[in-house]
């Protein structure tokens, strides 16, 4: 059994230059420790391996029952030069939400 990040959290992606930042925000604060343990920077880097060179940094935001993931070299050179359709990587939050984690129960 596994859960998706989608089951426990919501997410939004933003861009600055060639760097994407993606929030992961728990619906229920009681899931924060589980995500802190399982949703590591390494796991996120792995999920984005085909889209971003990285590195990936994770910033815990316990006060907001959230995390901020900062993924470098992620946007085809940045919004001004990227050939992608989604030059801002706005849809990247859905790659984050699809990450599967071991069942917390």
């Amino acid at each position: 059994m596994s859960v998706r990040v989608y089951d426990l959290a919501h997410s939004r992606a933003g861009d600055k230059g060639n760097t994407s930042n993606i929030s992961v925000i728990c619906y229920d604060a009681s899931h924060w420790e589980f995500l802190e343990r399982e949703l590591t920077a390494e796991r996120v880097a792995d999920a984005f391996r085909h889209l971003a060179k990285g590195p990936v940094r994770r910033y815990p935001l316990r006060n907001l029952k959230a995390f901020n993931f900062v993924i470098e070299n992620a946007l085809g050179g940045g919004v001004t030069v990227s050939l992608a359709q989604d030059i801002h990587g706005k849809s990247y939050s859905n790659v984050m939400l699809a990450i599967e984690l071991p069942d917390p129960k």
Partner: protein, 450 residues
């Protein structure tokens, strides 16, 4: 609901392409004191610089006319002051256009305070040794292609513009949260040393700078994160008190939702290190911030912290970097994906046969892998749209992509439909440097009599 000692700062635009009507609704029904229009994306100033080089009267945001025409009668009538970076590459030209709009609307001679000094292009011409933040190369490497260089000015000079009493303040490049912080500094006399207040105001500015992003825009998800009446979503405002207390609200009677969830998404949006969000006004730390639902559609923000601002301005340097060409065509039904893949190979070969080369090239199967790649593991859709795009310094090579994709109608696999016209656009790339604040001469000029 609203106490008399609070000032209410409304958010009227979060990009030059933002919706117009919610700003008018906010002015009409939101009981606001200030209406802030944030309208500059990273490359907008470069683009407007090119407009100004063709016509010296232009170079401000083209959306200025429609926005001001819509809200000026209400704002002037109610005494709502307007603050905006719609001056873009020509704030003085924007001020003249704004005054003309006011006169045409029969509102008389309206003064506009203009913020100048963000344009540092002549200054950095002699600073080729500055390092680009993105890759560490010297600025010199892009100087020959430079179109614009603009410092992100802070709230201090916008505040100075508000001190003139002009109903409208227009700037070029100013950091987004600073546009919102300035009215608070002006109203309450906050100085940069009042760090807890500057922190609260900057956090509020960051929450407001993308308008509907705190009211349910860029948020909803059917069955999971429902947003009521999203079609009529309203724009937000901040109720700010002299002690730095902040409550975010939205236009009464508007659609959408404003709660801790929507505010949390926006608070983290486009932040890297949450303990060090650098603006020209301070270094904001959101790691202690608490968001509390105080009433329906009202969220209180507390415990923002900040350190003193850095001694430098971030400067965006825009430069011409060749062209992007693209084309699209669709395939449907049996073996749609196989035909699209074959078509892509044919186009690539035809481009190569003509001697065209590209710095970067990309093939997307829209409906399958255009957003998140990994074509190999995606399920095949019933229909797929082939998109091919490339970047090059050769305009002919850029155009050839869309030309060859369109020609697949007659010269490719069977059943291609709906190709678009070949598209070519100029690439306006942006990189940045840090410039000591002491070298930048930010100033205010008033057009008309306040």
């Amino acid at each position: 609901m609203r106490s008399k000692d609070a000032v209410r700062v409304g958010s009227g635009a979060g990009t030059s392409d933002d919706r117009l009507i919610p700003a008018l609704e906010l002015a009409e029904r939101g009981d606001i004191d200030y209406l802030v229009f944030e309208c500059l994306a990273e490359r907008t100033v470069s683009r407007e610089n090119l407009s100004r080089s063709k016509n010296p009267d232009q170079g401000y945001s083209p959306s200025l006319h429609a926005r001001l025409r819509m809200v000026l009668p209400t704002c002037i009538g109610k005494g709502i002051r307007i603050v905006s970076n719609m001056g873009a590459a020509n704030p003085l030209g924007g001020a003249r256009a704004a005054r003309q709009e006011a006169a045409d609307l029969g509102l008389g001679d309206i003064a506009v305070a203009v913020v100048l000094g963000d344009d540092v292009s002549s200054l950095v011409q002699h600073k080729g040794e500055l390092r680009l933040i993105e890759n560490g190369e010297p600025l010199e490497s892009i100087l020959p292609k430079m179109i614009s260089a603009n410092a992100y000015l802070g709230a201090d000079v916008v505040c100075e513009a508000l001190h003139t009493g002009a109903p409208i303040v227009l700037s070029g490049r100013v950091a987004d949260p600073s546009l919102f912080l300035a009215p608070m500094m002006h109203e309450f006399g906050w100085a940069y040393d009042d760090l807890p207040k500057i922190a609260q105001g900057t956090a509020a500015g960051h929450l407001l700078e993308c308008t509907a992003s705190v009211t349910g825009g860029c948020f909803g998800w059917p069955g999971k994160k429902d947003v009521p009446d999203l079609a009529r979503n309203g724009f937000p405002f901040a109720d700010v008190k002299a002690d730095g207390s902040i409550v975010i609200g939205k236009t009464p009677g508007s659609g959408g939702r404003l709660d801790v969830m929507t505010c949390t998404e926006q608070l983290i949006y486009e932040i890297h290190d949450p303990a060090a969000y650098i603006t020209p006004d301070c270094v904001l730390d959101i790691t202690g911030i608490a968001l509390t639902q105080e009433a329906p559609d009202r969220v209180r923000v507390t415990h923002a912290k900040a350190r003193h601002a850095t001694p430098t301005y971030k400067v965006n340097v825009g430069y011409a970097d060749g062209y992007i060409g693209e084309g699209e065509v669709s395939y449907g039904g049996i073996d749609a994906v196989a035909r699209a893949k074959w078509a892509a190979e044919i186009v690539k070969e035809r481009l190569k046969l003509q001697g065209f080369a590209y710095d970067d090239f990309r093939v997307d199967l829209i409906g399958m892998s255009s957003l998140h790649d990994q074509v190999a593991i995606r399920p095949e859709p019933y229909e797929v749209r082939l998109r091919m795009a490339g970047r090059t310094n050769d305009r002919k090579a850029a155009h050839a992509i869309g030309f060859e994709v369109r020609a697949l109608h007659m010269h490719g696999p069977g059943g291609a439909g709906g190709a678009c016209e070949p598209r070519v656009r100029d690439v306006l790339a942006v990189k940045s440097v840090l410039l000591p604040k002491s070298m930048v001469n930010a100033q205010v000029i008033v057009e008309g009599t306040p």
